[in-house]
């Protein structure tokens, strides 16, 4: 769809805004509406829009399928690592109080890291679903 001028120019203007909005929602999860899952979907939709307009090969050169799978795994690992931090220090799973000096800072850091992990995983899952629906029949 690269030859549609209007689509191309509007996409180039809008995609940075979409990604910025996604980041805003990611980091404001504990303060207002938002959180990891919503942000992941918004960031993925920005990337998918870029792929639709400019072609799948450009998308593959930025974020290959292997990279997507790796990032997915890293997101889940981040979540579970934060959970295990509590167990290592003797408290329960996902207890954020032990992460930093005071209990309140520990909670904030814990929520931040956990939402980061969730956002990373969800955005890569959505992008991988988009890739696999476009590769239908071929090997992933």
């Amino acid at each position: 769809m690269k030859h549609h001028t209007v689509l191309r120019i509007v996409t180039k203007l809008i995609i940075p805004l979409i990604l910025l909005f996604g980041l805003y929602i990611q980091f404001h999860g504990d303060y207002s509406a938002g959180g990891g899952f919503q942000a992941g979907v918004i960031i993925a939709s920005g990337f998918i829009l870029y792929n639709i307009i400019f072609g799948l090969e450009v998308g593959f050169s930025i974020l290959s399928i292997n990279m997507t799978k790796n990032l997915m795994a890293i997101g889940v690992l981040l979540y579970i690592a934060v959970g295990f931090m509590g167990i290592i220090q003797g408290l329960n799973f996902l207890e954020y109080n032990s992460l930093l000096s005071s209990s309140k800072e520990g909670q904030l850091l814990g929520i931040f890291l956990v939402e980061l992990g969730v956002g990373l995983t969800v955005s890569n899952v959505m992008i991988l679903i988009f890739y696999s629906f476009n590769n239908m029949g071929e090997k992933l």
Binding site: Y31, S32, A33, G35, F37, I129, S132, M136, G137
Partner: protein, 107 residues
């Protein structure tokens, strides 16, 4: 009153899943069915005279934020189910050439 509308949506979704023979329409019916349950959760979380549950300085009555979190989890589950169903439909189309359940010939 809103609950009655919600249950109507519930039954419409269930009817679509049961009666339609096109697989994509069944997936749409499944989505309507699941969405009606999400709307039910939001309906029960409204507090009389409450504002959305975001802390602000001059409000004191907030709606219950717990069902919102439950719905978030359930929406993720619904998306995963829908994407799995669509992936299966793509494979069925590759294998049998049709996505009408009545026309699929297993013989």
């Amino acid at each position: 009153m809103l609950y009655v509308l919600n249950m109507t949506l519930f039954l419409i979704g269930l009817f679509i899943i049961v009666r339609e023979s096109n697989l994509i329409k069944k997936v749409i019916g499944l989505n309507i069915f699941q969405s009606s349950v999400f709307i039910f959760y939001i309906l029960i979380s409204k507090v009389e005279g409450g504002v959305p549950p975001i802390i602000s300085a001059d409000q004191s009555i907030y709606s219950n934020p717990l069902p919102h979190v439950l719905i978030l989890t359930a929406i993720v589950v619904s998306i995963a189910t829908t994407s799995l169903a669509l992936a299966l439909i793509i494979r069925i189309k590759d294998k049998y050439g049709t996505i009408e359940e009545d026309d699929i010939d297993l013989g």
